[in-house]
């Protein structure tokens, strides 16, 4: 194929001025990671980035960039010698691929003002040449179906027409760090990916209660981490908290209809302390207003009372079917619906309170000293990240 470059357009980075460099650096790093399997050269400039393809296929490289946060769109670009014949051939080559009856427009940027043809001359020349050679097309300069872009630069002429939209947003890592409470259900991975769109780096916390919860449930959460990491190019760390002791204590001491509230409160306490350790500035969860008993306003009020941390709920007001659609789009749905028990389902009370009262919950909780168990749970955290397997392989030769 004639393409030898990929043009990368920035998303919201272009709104930044004084600190843009920081955003571009972060994006460069993330693109590098996403392109680690390819032998390409990456140049990230102030307003766009170019990838020199070498022998790599443009489609595969664009696929790898599609979900990198901070990229608005990508285009495969052909670099030509600065001749009229080369431009004409390329324009016809592009146009041949358009559908019958489509309209097009020639758009020209003369970065090199010394080029002997003016903008209008080039438009007229190429437009006429395409119309003569590809009779199925018409010109429409206001609302064309296709734009054939021509950029005249000192080192050559760059032409492209295809624009592939990407995920947009801001590069991950530029928005600080947050801790995602990841249960393994449909909602929480989506919540995490939504927050990541805004450049926030995510670490995740998962509570497991062996032997009540199965190793498969934990494996499933690890798979979700793998999917999320792969999709975003980020190395998401998962912190697995042993919750059995607390879970059984709650089961023994807190009245059935309030146990769910206490469980969530203690999980939030642990999440807050972990977030502090990780220097995370917020906790993210997949709560959706009114979805289940623990997600009513009254429940959120009672549960949230244990922390001063901002708790971000990006899915708060969405419809369930919207969340499912997002999960399908992000590729997490199939894994999320695997039928393994998590600690939310095993110890589920028959009729949990939908309107818990903080004072009442606190009264029951005060009868048990949860603190040492919370400390123990924190001390027993195990870590996982998608790179674990690969890196241990890399470390193997050293250790």
């Amino acid at each position: 194929m004639i393409y030898d470059h990929i043009l990368v357009r920035y998303g919201e980075i272009t709104l930044k001025t004084r600190n843009r460099k920081m955003f571009i650096n972060a994006l460069r790093q993330n693109m590098k990671r996403a392109l680690s399997d390819f032998d390409v050269e990456l140049n990230a400039h102030w307003d766009r980035a170019y990838i020199t393809l070498g022998d790599e296929a443009p489609d595969a490289v664009m696929d790898a960039l599609e979900n990198v946060n901070g990229i608005l769109s990508v285009s495969p670009v052909a670099k030509l010698e600065r001749s009229e014949a080369a431009m004409k051939d390329t324009a016809v080559h592009f146009a041949d691929g358009f559908d019958e009856g489509d309209t097009f427009k020639i758009e020209v940027k003369r970065a090199d003002k010394s080029y002997h043809l003016k903008t209008f001359d080039i438009q007229q020349m190429l437009g006429g040449h395409v119309l003569d050679n590809v009779p199925k097309l018409d010109v429409d300069v206001k609302h064309p179906d296709h734009q054939i872009m021509v950029e005249v630069r000192i080192d050559g002429i760059y032409m492209y027409h295809e624009v592939r939209p990407c995920i947009g947003g801001l590069p991950i890592g530029t928005g600080g760090r947050a801790l995602l409470m990841l249960s393994g259900g449909i909602d929480s991975p989506v919540a995490g990916l939504e927050v990541m769109k805004k450049g926030v780096e995510i670490e995740a916390v998962h509570f497991h209660s062996p032997p009540y919860t199965s190793p498969q449930a934990t494996e499933k959460v690890k798979q979700l981490i793998d999917i999320m990491s792969k999709r975003t190019g980020a190395d998401i760390k998962l912190h697995i908290v042993p919750f059995t002791e607390l879970q059984t204590k709650i089961y023994d001491w807190i009245p059935d209809n309030m146990s769910m509230t206490t469980t969530r409160r203690i999980m939030l306490i642990i999440a807050e302390r972990l977030a502090e350790q990780l220097d995370a500035k917020a906790i993210v969860n997949g709560e959706n207003l009114g979805q289940v008993a623990s997600q009513t306003l009254a429940s959120m009020h009672a549960i949230n009372a244990v922390t001063n941390f901002p708790v971000l709920r990006p899915l708060l007001t969405l419809e369930k079917n919207e969340i499912v659609a997002m999960a399908r789009k992000y590729g997490t749905y199939e894994t999320s619906v695997l039928p393994y028990e998590d600690c939310c389902t095993i110890f589920k009370p028959k009729s949990p309170k939908t309107k818990p009262v903080v004072e009442k919950v606190e009264k029951f909780e005060s009868k048990v000293d949860f603190e040492p168990m919370i400390e123990k749970a924190l001390a027993g955290i195990e870590c996982y990240s998608v790179n674990d397997a690969e890196e241990n392989e890399a470390f193997k030769s050293l250790l």
Binding site: Q29, D235, D279, A379, C383, N387, E391, N392, F395, L398, L399
Partner: protein
């Protein structure tokens, strides 16, 4: 050169040196840095830590990297004793301990602690009956090494753990420096364990303190809060990775080398059997042999062997410059001439047959040479 002073230090494995160099080259980052490179280094550190704990059979312990066993012993003894002060003020310690344990214990007397020594049996192990007598409600700390560095006696660590089950308040510390790579022992019930990499073919300047409850520890030197705020100072990642590797190789080689070294020990014993004025201490691990040329000075024997290009030491390298009688040999009930005339020969997994043969020839020659002074 025939090097037979492996209880003092060992030659690093070539693979270990490769790791040390490669990590210095590719992972020279600070493990506390939050950037990508720092995080990679931190991952290697954690993988090293995991490997050390797993190979030690201490999956449920935590591991703090230190500069070596001396620092590990200092941290364990000083900080745990201070932590335990409200519960009692007595520590029990075997007479056999290394100076990095004994001298710390003695220094802790200034902070109001009582130090009681557990007596030693003639075979160089702690007297368990005396230990039981010393145990009371004021005891908060017990420290007994796994393998003695002077004679190689193996201490009854599991038995002590068993006795201490009735004293849950007691912290049991084991200096396992001389045991690693020589003998497998079960430390799973021990509260804290010290090791030093250079004793098992790692590099110098790295060791570890493994601990069951990290809460019982605190910093004894202050700084940036590395290693869980227990041991500040930029972590020696190349050393730690190299130690993990040294431990793995030692572990893989252990069974084979134990059999081989046992044969060396027997051969030397048999060759010296019946010689006038020679006394060989009972061996625990076969790697360490303590031989007395009664009537001579150990130093003379060491120098005489040196002229045969064989390097051994008097007692231990750490104590051999001190002009007093060796505590271990004294505690075992040896007479003064036996102690003064003693040398320590220590083999490693790398010691070869030919070297042992040359050692035996040299020992006979030296015995002849200095025969006049022997009694």
């Amino acid at each position: 050169m025939i090097y037979m002073d492996n209880a003092a230090t060992t030659r690093p494995y070539e693979d270990v040196l490769d790791t040390y160099m490669n990590v210095n080259r590719s992972y020279y980052f600070n493990t506390a840095s939050i950037h990508q490179a720092g995080r990679e280094a931190a991952k290697l550190l954690e993988a090293s830590r995991r490997q050390v704990l797993d190979l030690m059979g201490l999956g449920n312990h935590e591991c703090i990297f230190t500069s070596g066993a001396t620092e590990s012993n200092n941290i364990a003894i000083q900080s745990v004793l201070r932590h335990k002060k409200p519960f009692g003020r007595t520590m029990l310690i075997s007479e056999l301990e290394h100076p990095s344990v004994i001298n710390v214990a003695e220094a802790m007397k200034d902070e109001g602690f009582n130090v009681r020594y557990i007596r030693t049996l003639p075979d160089g192990t702690v007297d368990m009956r005396h230990f039981a007598e010393l145990l009371d409600d004021d005891v908060v700390f017990v420290t007994v090494m796994a393998v003695n560095n002077i004679v190689g006696s193996i201490q009854p660590i599991e038995e002590i753990c068993e006795a201490l089950r009735q004293y849950p308040r007691v912290h049991f510390h084991v200096d396992a420096t001389q045991a690693v790579g020589k003998i497998r022992m079960d430390y799973s019930e021990v509260d804290s364990i010290s090791i030093s990499a250079h004793k098992f073919h790692g590099v110098k300047g790295i060791g570890a303190l493994m601990v069951k409850e990290v809460k019982t520890l605190s910093a004894i030197t202050y700084g940036g809060g590395h290693e869980g705020n227990i041991r500040s100072g930029t972590v020696n990642l190349p050393g730690a990775a190299a130690m993990a590797r040294a431990l793995r190789i030692s572990d893989e080689e252990l069974d084979g080398s134990y059999t081989r070294v046992t044969a060396y020990n027997r051969r030397v014993r048999a060759a010296l059997d019946g010689l006038h004025a020679i006394q060989v201490q009972p061996s625990g691990v076969p790697h360490i042999m303590n031989i007395s040329f009664t009537g001579a000075k150990g130093e003379v024997v060491v120098n005489a062997l040196g002229s045969h290009d064989i390097f051994v030491s008097t007692t231990s390298a750490c104590a051999s410059k001190l002009k007093k009688l060796n505590e271990t040999l004294l505690a075992m009930g040896n007479a003064q001439p036996v102690i003064e005339g003693s040398i320590r020969i220590s083999f490693s997994s790398q010691t070869e047959d030919m070297e042992v043969e040359r050692l035996i020839t040299a020992l006979h020659a030296v015995h002849n040479e200095i025969g006049d002074v022997l009694k």
